[in-house]
Symmetry: C2
Amino acid sequence: MSASLPYDEVMVATAREPLTRDRVIEAAVVFADEHGVDDLSMRKLGAELGVEAMSLYNHVENKDAMLDGMIDFVFSTIPIPDGDLDWRDHLRRLGRGTMTNFGSHPWVVHVCMTRGLLGPGALRFMDHVLGVLADAGFDDESAHHAWQMLASHTMGYAFQASAGVTEKDHAEFEMMIPRLAREVPNVARLAPFLIGCSWEDEYMFGLEIILDGLKARLK
Amino acid sequence: MSASLPYDEVMVATAREPLTRDRVIEAAVVFADEHGVDDLSMRKLGAELGVEAMSLYNHVENKDAMLDGMIDFVFSTIPIPDGDLDWRDHLRRLGRGTMTNFGSHPWVVHVCMTRGLLGPGALRFMDHVLGVLADAGFDDESAHHAWQMLASHTMGYAFQASAGVTEKDHAEFEMMIPRLAREVPNVARLAPFLIGCSWEDEYMFGLEIILDGLKARLK
DNA sequence: ACCTGAACACCGTTCAAGT
DNA sequence: ACCTGAACACCGTTCAAGT
């Protein structure tokens, strides 16, 4: 975009590009994607942006506000299905999109769990889902029930999917199995499923049960 | 129990009662119940026990291990229904018990979300649920599906219930409603339900849908 | 075997000072 | 208007030293 500028002009331009709230939050998202949210500190993020930590406070109120901004950033990028879909199909696609989106930002569920879901991005997303439910014929109370179920299901599975069971955890768990077999035989017997399961498949299986139950209570 | 000892002997006994892993963890549970888990630090917990922070490391490996112990403590106190119950009834009681138990320790879901669920207490609880499902006729794969759904539902609602929406939050949310009405009308319309809902009722409503769905897929 | 004091390497955040 | 440096009040944890 600035390819026609002389080389040193480009350098200066990128280096001095003034910080903005959006740039800070995007950089924080990238940092959390790469290093995990536990490693995200104001000092380190400042270093990443070539600035002292304290400069960030000119653009975000504090770290919590920055985390809220990161959540909103992710929510606002969840793809909204278009076209005239049956409400159940709409919610299936929305659910799958949410899961894959959260999958690219493994920290987001965890941060939501500690920060809540009241930012503008999350509210807009919620509003969209409630709109789909209202169009499907749910009254306000039922739509609320449905939202809570769908939200809980989605956050729950996204959380487990992003809990990041590493190879090391697998090995550790498998080493435990002999002892587990004596003390918690049912857990030991199901170990293959616990270790090998596809969270997206699990999620869609459960979503179907929920959609069935909601439909049965609709008419 | 030491009521027959002379008064000052009792004082000395309680003051000098040697620290143990169990005493440390119980004190941490009490501290988190009273002050919230965010305020729980090794230094403050030490002070509570009349000891320097560093002494605690003689009884717990580190803070994370202590948190794991706290989770296990809570899980091991969830009441297990007795008697020969229908599997759905059994799971209903288990679910309700879990919700109220988690309600007395509002920090526990949050800590589980960051520490996972692989301690002995949690494993024993999981084993019990899997046993109920196996007795009901679920094969291993279906039992795994069912467990994931029940766990996700329970953790999700317990989390929301314990997210602790304060009076201040309510007031703040109500003040936002006029602006919300323009930007997220569906959310604004459902505000009364969002503010006033009973998490236990919501939970049981959703549990019924899940149990229905699981039953339909059982035969 | 258990407890302590001092220290290390971090945090988020404030604030006066610079430009 | 934005950035910096030094400081404050905390963390979890290590380690040598005490008893």
